[in-house]
Symmetry: C2
Subunit: 293 residues, 2 copies
């Protein structure tokens, strides 16, 4: 482990950014560049199709081409690696592997069986065995972390605060099971728990249930609560929200969004705040136990 900080540029070469889907990878790359750190992006062609990638030095490669990643990153002098963005888990059988990918495949398959946490920490160990250092995106771009307090004009009320505390307690309880980072609570009642389907789909389900008059939740009540799993490897998989999350929450007829401040990633703060104000919902960063800043 180098004694220099994560954002040091002296001996660590360009920052390698493994890019999944969504707008986060470009936001992280831009933040690193602004701090004077050169970047080299590795866009996973299974998901990272955003045109914003192209404005940075980049390679495109498949999830299975780990060997190509190692060679290209080493040739460019990269030592620090960040992995960021959404990655819908591809079927292993559909991936094309290069030799480096095949070499680590047995480890990855074993990690696969142990849920997200196992897979992600294992990837960190694999990278380190090849001489890289895996960093969290928030370590190189702390400005993408959710701040304390509300992003837009709306603020949660007392009932919302109770829903937030209830949701955080449930997420804490489920932590050892390596499952969902998100729940929806309305008037103290748990309406939805996220597992394999992801946050967007969970919100779409609630919107459909409400349209069909199949949930007894007041319109304009209820909070989407997101928190990192206890013990989660924060270098890899912090919960994140974006403008699309705000739209999903509005469509589901909820009052707002609460995430743990400092433990969730929000690229595009301005767009999120604007979307929240337009929809009349709150987006708030809270402490671990749900209390106001």
């Amino acid at each position: 482990m180098s004694a220099s900080g994560p954002s040091a540029t002296s001996d660590a070469g360009p920052l390698a950014i493994i890019c999944g889907g969504g707008s986060l990878p470009a936001a992280v790359a831009e933040a690193a560049q602004r701090q004077g750190r050169p970047v080299l992006l590795f866009a996973l062609q299974e998901t990272a199709v955003e045109p914003s990638i192209s404005s940075f030095p980049h390679h495109r490669l498949s999830v299975g081409q780990y060997g190509r990643f190692v060679r290209s990153a080493q040739a460019a002098g990269c030592r620090d690696v960040v992995a960021i963005g959404s990655l819908v888990r591809p079927s292993l059988w559909r991936l094309r592997f290069d030799l480096g990918g095949l070499r680590i495949l047995p480890k990855v398959v074993r990690a696969y069986r142990h849920g997200d946490d196992g897979l992600l920490s294992r990837m960190g160990a694999i990278l380190e065995a090849d001489g890289f250092r895996l960093l969290g995106a928030h370590e190189v771009a702390p400005q993408i972390l959710m701040p304390q307090g509300a992003l837009g004009r709306a603020q949660p009320g007392d009932g919302d605060r109770a829903d937030i505390r209830h949701g955080l307690a449930l997420l804490r309880t489920m932590g050892p099971f390596d499952v969902g980072q998100a729940v929806v609570v309305s008037d103290n009642r748990v309406l939805a728990i996220e597992a394999a389907e992801g946050t967007d789909e969970m919100l779409a389900r609630l919107a459909a249930l409400r349209d069909a008059d199949r949930i007894r939740a007041r319109q304009g009540a209820g909070v989407l609560v997101k928190a990192p799993k206890p013990g989660q490897d924060r270098r890899f998989d912090l919960p994140s929200i974006g403008p699309r999350t705000v739209e999903g929450v509005a469509r589901a007829g909820l009052a707002g969004i609460a995430v743990v401040a400092g433990s969730a990633i929000v690229a595009e703060l301005d767009r999120i705040a604007a979307a929240a104000d337009k929809a009349g919902i709150f987006v708030v960063g809270v402490s671990d136990d749900g209390n106001a800043p």
Copy 2:
């Protein structure tokens, strides 16, 4: 509380059965009749539309007509009440209330805010204040409870057993939060957790995720695990499975279903076993901790 057992016919008059949707109400009515107990069915017109109701003495009424229920049940000499069958929670604002319904409305609305458990135990207290005795369907018809062991030919393997134990542990952990009675676990990974959407919709979601290649679960692996909530009022709301559950599990590409024996309702054992054998999935009653009988 009468000293006579639940199935006593001497002084308790006909058994009043408040009927939600599905095939369970008629199965309970038939079981009670076979024990020599007369029945009087109250079919909730919001959901209980099964033609099978009509072959028993019955009234049709709305969820809001509690006053009419009390008068009719008392006039017929009913003392014991069973409530059984699915009830999609109707919007309070759409219900038509009679005077008796309006009288209990404030209590019901308060209970509404405290989740299922609060609502159901409150209803028990309301019925008892009016001189009735609320019984569990399994008390008058124990043959509708899930037995130990497999219903059809297929048996869970060692991996399935591990998934079952994992699912039961998660359900136990979530118990205090008055949420889902069902989860799906595959290769030790939690794929779905039921909340307001119900079991059928949770299974449909998994089938859709699999069709879209969005979950990393092997075809033919994974178990739907159902258990009662800890401390749940078993007179009202035991988990149940039916032939439709079997079809949903097959469509989701899972290996089988596990429910806690003696704590889940299965009407139509024969049809469930036939559907399971046809689909090649197991349906098994297990102990609280997931062990084989």
